[in-house]
Amino acid sequence: MILDAIAASILQSGIVPEGTRVQVFQEIYWVFLGLGTLVGAVVIGYMLYNGYKYRYQGGEDKDEDRPKLGEIPTGGGKGKKLFTSLTLSAIIVISLIAWTYGTLLYVEAAPEQPDAGVDVHVEGYQFGWDFTYLNNAGNSTGVETTGTLRVPVDTRVNIEVTSRDVSHNFGIPGLKVKTDALPGYTTKTWFEASQTGNYTANCYELCGQGHSYMEATVVAMEQDEYEDWYASQQNQTSTQNSSTVAAGGA
């Protein structure tokens, strides 16, 4: 209860990135990259500086207490400096991760409006992707596509992903969403496209000979164009159903 309250207040404070997954990822990625490069440059620079400054130059050795062959090892002292450095790096690392934890909670949170948005069941196979659109109850609406996933922009798309043979992984790099596709399991995630256009989905888990070419296209469309397309798909499905009924066959 207390942790939930803390989490809620952190999320509302504005420190934690929110928005589409693309926005969220970019913000965190650049902060990490900047800090990581800075820390790396400082540490490696310090190493190189000391390596140069204390290089052997011959001459007299002022420090007589050098390591000697056969001695029982003793610590070299300077434990305090070590712990200061460790504490500093621990603070940096832990606060970075705590910050991203806030984003993790945001990303993993249930949608504010569970019934809004588009729900799709994604099934991977060797070597392609099938998409089945779902209604609010989680059942198929009859609209199914292979190799292309059409979604409306500015709308949360909830996907539940699985596989019907080996393990795959469904990822759309342009929309910064990715999840495993495991046989016997369903993983869930979501994405939201803020711009229309075509995005490529790839497979990110080695799955056999066709792994390199196991792609799908995600087409983000304007809301009304999407609804037109979706309606036409539904008409086709019901037409097919009624024609099969009329033909009296399975």
């Binding site: 990822f25 965190i28 990490f32 990581g36 540490v43 310090y46 190493m47 000391n50 204390y54 290089r55 052997y56 011959g58 001459g59 007299e60 050795d61 050098r66 390591p67 000697k68 062959l69 056969g70 029982i72 090892p73 610590g75 070299g76 300077k78 434990g79 400096k81 070590l82 712990f83 460790l86 790096s89 690392v93 832990i94 970075l96 991760i97 991203t100 934890y101 993790l104 990303v107 993993e108 043979d165 080996v166 992984n169 990822g171 790099p173 969403v177 999840t179 495993d180 495991l182 046989p183 016997g184 399991y185 993983t187 790839n202 990110y204 080695l206 056999g208 792994h211 390199s212 070419y213």
Partner: protein, 842 residues
């Protein structure tokens, strides 16, 4: 006092006057092939490991160059130097060979050679087992080579995920052979782990407490403890996979509850400790080299050791960070995010410790130091990028991309870099020759350039999916740079090999201690050291390393001060003259390890032909069947031969032996082996429980119809444990008949267990319930089958013990074999006490 005065006096511990090099007389000379086939000496085995590992780096390196050739541009279907199937094999075997057949064996080449010298031991605790570890390693590598010729080798990544790894999706025989090879390698590692744990704990010189152990030995000690438990989990995973492939069980089938994720758990529970197993020896080498070449003691040495211990322990609680995108829930992800960040902190401390060691040093930038320093730079880059992966939200995007590939190559190959530094560092000790220093520096420049040209662009092109050769055009230039870098890195490896080979043949003679400021015991003896390593008994009780004569060493181990007679006090070591006759003849050669490994290879080749419970038709099937039979019988015969062979090794316990004082070497070895067996069964039981939970606990019916046969078996086993105890008591009383009665009772009770089980299983088989029927049957038969295999092995040993007891053994005061067998047999019984309720009752 200038550096020029800093020469060790008694540094070259050559043989004392009047003593011939008689130790070597029992072994053929180093120039003969036979020497290398039968030797059990740790220095010889160390050289065998090191040289063989260099062959495997070339093998893995060629595969890497093939990968980079394919990646020179995005390939349309059907184009490129490799087909998709060939490419998948290349990436998979590149990873497997580098991680298993190159990195750890190179480290263990040094461990074998250097650790006994550093702790003051004359060899490992179990020299024949040491040779056996090496020969199993070599033959398992030959098995990998063979796999390419049996259809196709394994093509599912070094991570071997399920269900891609089962015959339904990967039918080639070569894939099975690869798994068998890895299983053989695991056996090699487990044997080696038992050996090193026993040695490092029990065979240290007096005065060399755990806290005083050199950092390289510490790193090896922690490596082998991790190996013991991690490889047991891998062994379980491989045995289950082999059972699916060879026998047709259905653990990892796509339709089995939990199948795909079960493999992931088993593999990564092993896989994460494995990366530290691979890195720790490099860390130990870095610590030694930093200290020796900067002339400053490691800063915060005590905390360095604590950090290594913490990492070793924590390595077992981070594995699910490889599974952040599976269906595990948010709380579990959070826990493993926290533990992953937690494990980075001890590494931070160790990195800082090494850097601060440079301060106020007199750093000599010789080749070993260049490589060690370079390794730390690369490790820092790799470590920072690893923090990115620990942030779950970032990992969501980095998963399966070249960010991961670049990260782990930076950390893993920085380990290689440090080990190359170790290679140059210890080369003079191991060969007695000095390498070419100038060429070494040039090699480092080429190496470091090639490394960064190869791996840094992978960060820039991180969007490339892993194991894929069709990528977006904007990454083209980075992949081209990387391929060029790969070539340069490969050339630098050839330069290393050239330098060391040339120096071996015609280099300058190396002193016992070519490095000022070195401190550890291997530098206090000649290069290379004599067969028995030291000119006396090493001892640290006086506060510095000394070599005591026979009379003095017995005094020092009883706590009195070492006898005087010219103890120099300049900080060098002291060599006392005195009688140093060997009272006990120590063996150094045996051909059984080689024979066991060869028959294991043959058996594995034969077994690879088995698929889903049967051999193929025709001549091929007959060949595989016959080979399996010959190999298996040969292994049993050779193991018996090795058991029967009389072989005297050095005993431990004369010096420091914490915490195993009073536990004799063989007994400790058996306890350690049983500890790994516990993890093995734990993984099997865990796997069965995991599947059952996913299946639905209450929907799962036990396979046996009634618990009565299981109950009978429980009584049979418990009684047989009791009869073993009676046999031991009879041995202590000197009663040959009592011993025979106890052992024969045990034997027949064990046979009763097998007969009872056979009846039960035949009945099930007639009902159509067998291994492949469903996953309940699979888990039941395989887990109780593994236990049954242990019973069979125990009965074979019992038969051997009966035969020897008939001849009067064990009643002459030498009853340890009975005690050791008892330990094993009680373990087998205790395991049954867990299996019986799990598979018959609940």
């Amino acid at each position: 006092m200038s550096d020029d005065d800093l020469q060790t006096d008694g540094g070259t511990a050559s043989a004392l006057p009047g003593e011939s090099h008689g130790d070597d007389a029992h072994l053929p000379p180093k120039s003969s092939v036979k020497r290398w086939l039968v030797t059990t000496n740790h220095k010889d085995v160390g050289i065998l490991y090191t040289v063989t590992a260099m062959f495997f780096v070339l093998f893995g390196g060629v595969l890497a160059l093939l990968i980079r050739a394919q990646m020179l541009s995005p390939r349309a279907p059907g184009t490129g130097p490799l087909s998709a199937m060939a490419y998948n094999q290349a990436v998979s075997l590149h990873g497997l060979i580098m991680v298993f057949w190159f990195l750890s064996p190179l480290a263990f080449g040094f461990a074998n050679y250097i650790v006994p010298l550093q702790i003051g031991a004359e060899d490992l605790a179990f020299p024949r087992l040491n040779a056996l570890s090496y020969w199993l390693y070599l033959t398992s590598g030959l098995l990998v080579f063979t796999s390419f010729f049996q259809g196709a080798s394994f093509a599912g990544g070094w991570t071997m995920y399920a269900p891609l790894n089962i015959p339904a999706f990967m039918p080639s025989i070569g894939a099975t052979t690869t798994v068998l090879a890895l299983l053989m390698f695991t056996v090699s590692v487990t044997v080696g782990g038992v050996n090193f744990i026993t040695t490092i704990h029990r065979m240290r010189a007096p005065g060399l407490t755990m806290r005083s152990l050199p950092l390289f030995t510490w790193s090896i000690l922690l490596t082998v403890w991790m190996m013991l438990f991690a490889f047991a989990a891998l062994l379980a995973a491989l045995m289950i996979l082999l059972s699916d492939r060879l026998l047709g069980t259905t653990y990892f089938a796509a339709t089995t509850a939990g199948g795909s994720v079960l493999w992931t758990h088993l593999f990564w529970f092993f896989g994460h400790p494995e990366v530290y197993i691979v890195f720790f020896p490099a860390l130990g080498a870095m610590a030694e080299i930093f200290q020796t070449f900067s002339g400053r003691r490691i800063v915060g040495r005590k905390w360095f050791i604590v950090s290594m211990v913490l990492v070793a322990l924590q390595s077992f609680i981070v594995w699910m960070h490889h599974m952040f995108l599976t269906a595990i829930n948010l709380q579990v992800k959070t826990l493993f995010m926290a533990t992953t960040i937690g494990i980075s902190l001890p590494f931070d401390l160790m990195v800082f410790a090494l850097i601060y060691t440079l301060i106020k040093g007199r750093i000599r930038w010789d080749t070993p130091m260049l490589f060690a320093f370079g390794s730390l730079v690369l490790f820092i880059v790799g470590g920072i990028t690893g923090v990115f992966l620990g942030a779950v939200v970032l990992d969501y995007e980095f998963r399966g991309t070249y960010w991961v590939v670049a990260h782990f190559h930076y950390v893993m190959v920085s380990g290689v870099t440090a080990l190359i530094g170790g290679l140059y560092y210890w080369f003079p000790k191991m060969t007695g020759k000095m390498y070419d220093e100038f060429l070494g520096k040039i090699t480092f420049a080429v190496y470091f350039t090639g490394f960064n040209l190869l791996y840094f662009p992978m960060f820039l092109a991180w969007g490339t999916p892993r194991r894929v050769f069709a990528y977006r055009p904007e990454y083209l230039v980075w992949h081209q740079v990387a391929s060029v870098g790969g070539l340069i890195l490969g050339i630098s490896f050839l330069m290393v090999i050239y330098n060391l080979t040339k120096s071996l043949l015609s280099g300058e003679e190396a002193a016992g201690n070519p490095w000022p400021y070195s401190t550890t015991a291997e530098w206090a003896v000649s290069s290379p050291p004599p067969m028995e390593n030291f000119p006396g008994t090493p001892s640290y009780t006086s506060g510095v390393l000394e070599f005591l004569g026979d009379d003095e060493s017995s005094e020092s181990s009883s706590g009195t001060a070492a006898a005087d007679g010219g103890t120099a006090t300049d900080g060098g070591m002291v060599v006392h003259e005195g009688d140093h006759e060997e009272e006990v003849h120590i063996d150094h050669a045996s051909y059984w390890p080689l024979v066991i490994a060869v028959f294991s290879f043959i058996a594995a080749v034969g077994l690879s032909g088995l698929q889903l419970g049967s051999y193929p038709e025709g001549l091929g099937g007959t060949f595989y069947m016959a080979t399996s039979l010959i190999g298996s019988l040969g292994v049993i015969g050779a193991v018996s031969g090795m058991g029967y062979e009389s072989f005297t090794a050095h005993e431990g316990g004369a010096g420091e032996a914490w915490p195993f004082e009073g536990v004799e070497n063989t007994k400790l070895g058996i306890w350690v082996f049983l500890a790994s067996d516990v993890v093995l069964f734990g993984a099997f039981i865990g796997a069965a429980i995991f599947i059952r939970v996913d299946y639905g606990w209450m929907q799962w019916q036990p396979v046996p119809h009634t618990a009565i046969p299981g109950l009978v078996n429980t009584y049979l086993l418990l009684t047989s444990s009791f009869s073993v105890i009676l046999a031991l008591v009879a041995a202590q009383k000197g009663s040959r008949n009592g011993v025979l009665a106890g052992l024969v009772t045990t034997f027949f009770l064990g046979i009763g267990f097998l007969v009872n089980k056979a009846i039960e299983w035949i009945e099930l088989f007639h009902e159509g319930v067998w291994l492949s029927t469903n996953v309940r049957a699979s888990t039941y038969f395989l887990t109780t089958g593994l236990h049954m295999g242990h019973v069979v092995a125990g009965l074979l040993i019992t038969a051997y013990l009966i035969w020897r007891a008939w001849g009067g053994a064990y009643t002459d005061g030498n009853d340890e074999p009975l005690e050791y067998f008892g330990l094993y047999w009680h373990f087998v019984d205790i395991v049954w006490l867990f299996l019986f309720p799990l598979f018959y009752i609940i």
